[in-house]
Symmetry: C2
Subunit: 345 residues, 2 copies
DNA sequence: CTGTTAGCGCGTTCAT
DNA sequence: ATGAACGCGCTAACAG
């Protein structure tokens, strides 16, 4: 296994011409004899010639590759965002390198280093729930590699961002619970470190306030987004002297875990307790009862992120200021909040 | 934004030493004065120096990067395989580039070219359902870049492969249906082009045969794995003069679609018709009733694939022959086949 | 211990 | 229309 791949020099030698000519023929340069070009192209084909992207990147100082880093990609959300971004990026001739940090700050830092070392032209990222320090992302900025955050965004960095209106989504979710008659509405919130979980908490609070319902501190629990903890806290809420009559969960997996716990305890949904999630995970439409949730335009998040990145990539010189795009959400009503939902989606 | 990243030459100039010394200091070469090393390390830190992986790869003719290409990654399966592979690969110091071909042959070919151009050291791949021609993978082989197939494997290529025992899994699924009293067992099969769908079909057939149940051709339908078609064919089966009393679906999404159709028609599961899927998708445990299915060791598939690749990567010289690893499956009984499943997983 | 030189594969001047 | 020479950033071989 010699592992020597054909280079333009090999082709040049065999054809007894210079490598410059081969290079020109291959890249479609106008100044090259049509017959020579044919011979080069033929031999290249015959020899399985593949241009070495490494050499070109080294030469041009751009890889036409962008990195996408996500905290996980088991749930449907991040893969779908990635696909959305990839559509736009591929269209523009960019390759994509996908990394996942596994919700680990350390892995995130390492991935960032690897991405920088491999000289990506740009970075699209949603950080881990552990991330407090963003220096590993600031390096990109400092080196002129544009960064776009989505979903989980660093508020302190002056870069483009894509989010959904988490505040509004949460508000709509809680408003829906209130309008269907609930008064003791619990909220399983995410870690305080994530801006979107703070926004959702604010939406929850403001909805209660607007409808004149006092907030009960014992009904609001922040947790680390693991299902084990979700299980514990749902049980805790149900064991309260005055248990809640509704639960607004930070995301669908949490809501589904809650639903399982509640069903296992023999309570009826939505009669005894109603549940709303966030994100419209595909599972939500399939469970019994269906989960009322807040839908987000997932692919669009990816597309927008890619667009914002392209904006920075193309206007290298003009120094376009970063932009933030906030996308809308949608209340999707299913059986976990009303008996006969009409718009079962 | 100058986009000039610090190089060892910059450091060398500022310290008035040669770039070789800088290189040595940075890579931990023993032959370098400890004081010089300190000065270099300090300045490098201060200047945000990041080694240019491109240059090193060009030089060493290896990128320490492996490509993983999958047909899709919305379902849980492929992401989980990727994570499994990544664990092993990261441990061995390899980076991973993830591509998805979106079940499109054309995209697959393009991805393969890009991966080759960016000089990955190896490739782990599961091909699209459209793929009939494997020349774009053979190029890797020819160039000495090891390839490992998993899940959907090319039978004609002499490379390492990881699969599960699809035949045995299907056999167990159908046997379970027979043992719980079903006789008219339909099978929604995958496209004939996929070896694993052929194996599952064979398992189905042999189970029937072994239990003396004649195969009814009208009960076996091959289709393209899209949910639209699944919907159509399930309805078709139910409209048969003698509808089936059980359905073995090629995978869980298909089974879940069938389950929805069957419930919508007011039939009782498992009394009127039983359903078994394949792959143990997380959704399966959450739907009503739970879906009986065949579990596969998903992360292990990824880990094994990575191991087989490493084997080829390390023994470049010795020319180790490719190996095929076949992993076992597990019948997981839930409510879609028996009223009170005891081992609800 | 350190500096010099060569070369990885390619595109791009600048000549011819 | 073609060739020679240079350089992208780095490591390694060879001299000191």
């Amino acid at each position: 296994m010699s592992r020597h791949l054909t280079t333009i020099i090999d082709i040049a030698k065999q054809l007894d011409i210079s490598k410059s000519t081969v290079s020109r023929a291959l890249t479609g340069h106008p100044n090259v004899n049509e017959k020579t070009r044919q011979r080069v192209l033929e031999l290249a084909e015959q020899l399985d010639y593949q241009r070495n992207q490494l050499a070109i990147s080294l030469l041009t100082n751009q890889t036409r590759t962008v990195g996408i880093m996500v905290p996980e990609f088991i749930s449907f959300f991040f893969p779908k965002v990635i696909i959305g971004a990839q559509e736009v990026l591929a269209e523009a001739g960019y390759n994509v390198v996908i990394c996942h940090s596994n919700e680990s700050y350390e892995t995130e830092v390492n991935n960032a280093k690897a991405l920088l070392a491999s000289r990506v032209d740009g970075l699209i990222v949603s950080h881990t729930k552990e991330t407090r320090n963003f220096d590993h992302f600031r390096v990109f900025q400092r080196k002129g590699v544009p960064v776009v955050f989505f979903n989980r965004v660093c508020e302190d960095m002056n870069v483009s961002k894509v989010t959904v209106d988490d505040y509004d989504g949460a508000f709509k979710a809680v408003e829906h619970l209130i309008q269907t008659g609930r008064r003791r509405i619990a909220h399983l919130a995410g870690p305080d470190s994530l801006p979107n979980s703070r926004s959702r908490l604010n939406g929850y609070r403001d909805a209660l306030r607007q409808y004149g319902i006092p907030e009960e501190p014992e009904l609001v629990i922040s947790y680390d987004l693991t299902l084990e903890k979700a299980n514990i806290y749902v049980n805790h809420l149900l064991n309260l002297p005055q248990p809640p009559d509704a639960l607004f969960a930070i995301n669908d997996p949490t809501a589904i875990e809650a639903l399982d716990v509640i069903k296992a305890r023999g309570l009826r949904i939505p009669d005894d307790i109603a549940i709303v999630g966030f994100s419209n995970d595909p599972i939500s439409a399939h469970i019994e009862p269906g989960l009322t949730t807040i839908g987000q335009p997932v692919s669009e998040i990816g597309q927008e992120a890619a667009n914002l990145l392209m904006e920075q990539l193309l206007d290298k010189e003009e120094n376009k200021p970063p932009r933030t795009v906030v996308l809308g959400t949608q209340l999707i009503v299913r059986g976990s909040t009303v008996r006969n939902p009409d718009n079962r989606v």
